[in-house]
Amino acid sequence: MDRPPVSRGFKSKRQASETARLPPGQYLTTDFPVLSAGPTPEIRVANWKIALQLGGSLLGTWTWDEFEALPQTTITVDIHCVTKWTKLNTVWQGVSFDDLLKGVGLSEPPGAYIMAHCDGGYTTNLPVADLVAEKAMIATRYEGLPLAPAHGGPARLLVPHLYFWKSAKWLRRLRFMAKDEPGFWESRGYHNYGDPRREQRYDGD
């Protein structure tokens, strides 16, 4: 379609200063909406473990205490959900993907793609290039407090430069893959990559 039709009588209720930092099609929220495909799992950290895998073989696992002992990173970022809300200046603490790799003695990622596996069966796929060099972390604290179960606690992936469904909640396993495969939403009509700046919401965008 060339030029979208003007919606008679429609005016923005937002301040220009508010919208300047937003990716296209996003609106600002100060709230923290919750979105997921099923119920929120209640995970006790005593039973929690996280694993890094290469295909079917294990590169390393961490219990909660072992994971907490890894180097901690704190970042302040804007987050963008495909359902169109954006939240500015959110503060997260956790372990960077780079430090996780170092934790298993790897200087180079052993595959080009990753599948994140979560409690509840959710999965999402990412290029490894989008996780390294301080671009992503496994977050365990939000605004200084332990991550609430509804927001993915005890630990979620955080890849702030992609739509938020890529920041998988209730993370349990990161699996390196030689070839890309679609995850849960990616095989249900959502975009394979999900760049908010390019509005890659749905397959084909």
């Binding site: 379609m1 919750v34 495909a37 084909g204």
Partner: protein, 253 residues
């Protein structure tokens, strides 16, 4: 890069303009907008469309709205609740007129869906406008000849806030495989046999089949509502994989 490395190309879900054919006032805060799409390839009950408004200075706003009509109908029904300080919903309720062109694209969503071929039993739990995608499922179910056992537990503030009330009551009266329960949070009408107050575990147990019957749940409404219902269901022993959720609003508030 060789040709085989190129990812498969999928057509973008194109924006189209639909004509507003009918507007129905459902409650004091809710209207249904019935659209004539230029072309429609069909949808699954439970899917949504994205609406896009464009101001004359080029500013655009997009929001998602569930499709309330079943796939059997040619016109698409969206049911929109007024959010007082909202940007898009007051426009759709107050400014949009019959014959207007409204830009939208879809259908979207591949998880919160049901069709008769998936069978039952199904238990639908709605909070407020969360009824919309569930209504598409019920309307579709009604057209199927398979007698799929279903129950709808619908939480609203008052009877006057129940969307599609006449249609739901008629549907339930004529169908012994369908159970309909209203839970009213702010009103307890006398000689009325619905449930007063919020949805409780007991209410769910009494109206949602047993874990052995392996029902599929579709829970839709405001975030807090969906959170509380889905955790109650897990606590009651239903398999989390059978509980599908769709959250409409912000958290808390």
């Amino acid at each position: 890069m060789t040709a085989t490395d190129t990812p498969p190309q999928h057509p973008r879900i194109a924006w189209q303009t639909g004509r507003v054919r009918t507007i129905v006032a459902e409650t004091s805060r809710v209207k249904s907008i019935i659209l004539q799409p230029a072309s429609w390839s069909g949808h699954w009950p439970g899917q949504h469309v994205d609406i896009r408004l464009t101001a004359d200075d080029g500013y655009q706003a997009e929001r998602s709205y569930s499709i309330a009509s079943p796939p059997e109908e040619k016109l698409l029904t969206l049911t929109v609740e007024r959010i007082e300080d909202g940007e898009v919903s007051p426009y759709l309720l107050d400014e949009l007129r019959l014959g207007d062109a409204l830009e939208f694209r879809g259908p979207i969503g591949g998880h919160f869906i049901w069709s008769q071929t998936r069978g039952g039993p199904i238990c639908l739990v709605a909070g407020g406008t969360g009824i919309t995608p569930l209504m598409a499922m019920l309307r579709h179910r009604k057209r199927s000849l398979a007698h799929i056992p279903a129950s709808l537990i619908y939480s609203a503030r008052s009877l006057a806030d129940v969307i599609y009330r006449d249609e739901l009551d008629t549907m339930a009266r004529g169908d012994c495989d369908l159970r309909l329960v209203y839970a009213l949070t702010r009103e307890h009408p006398s000689n009325w046999n619905g449930h007063p107050g919020r949805v409780t575990e007991t209410l769910l147990v009494e109206n949602s089949f047993t874990p052995a019957q392996n029902p599929t749940f579709f829970v839709c409404g405001p975030t807090g509502f969906v959170e509380s219902i889905s955790s109650m269901l897990v606590k009651l022993g239903f398999d989390p994989f059978t509980i599908k959720t769709e959250r409409f609003g912000p958290s808390g508030g």
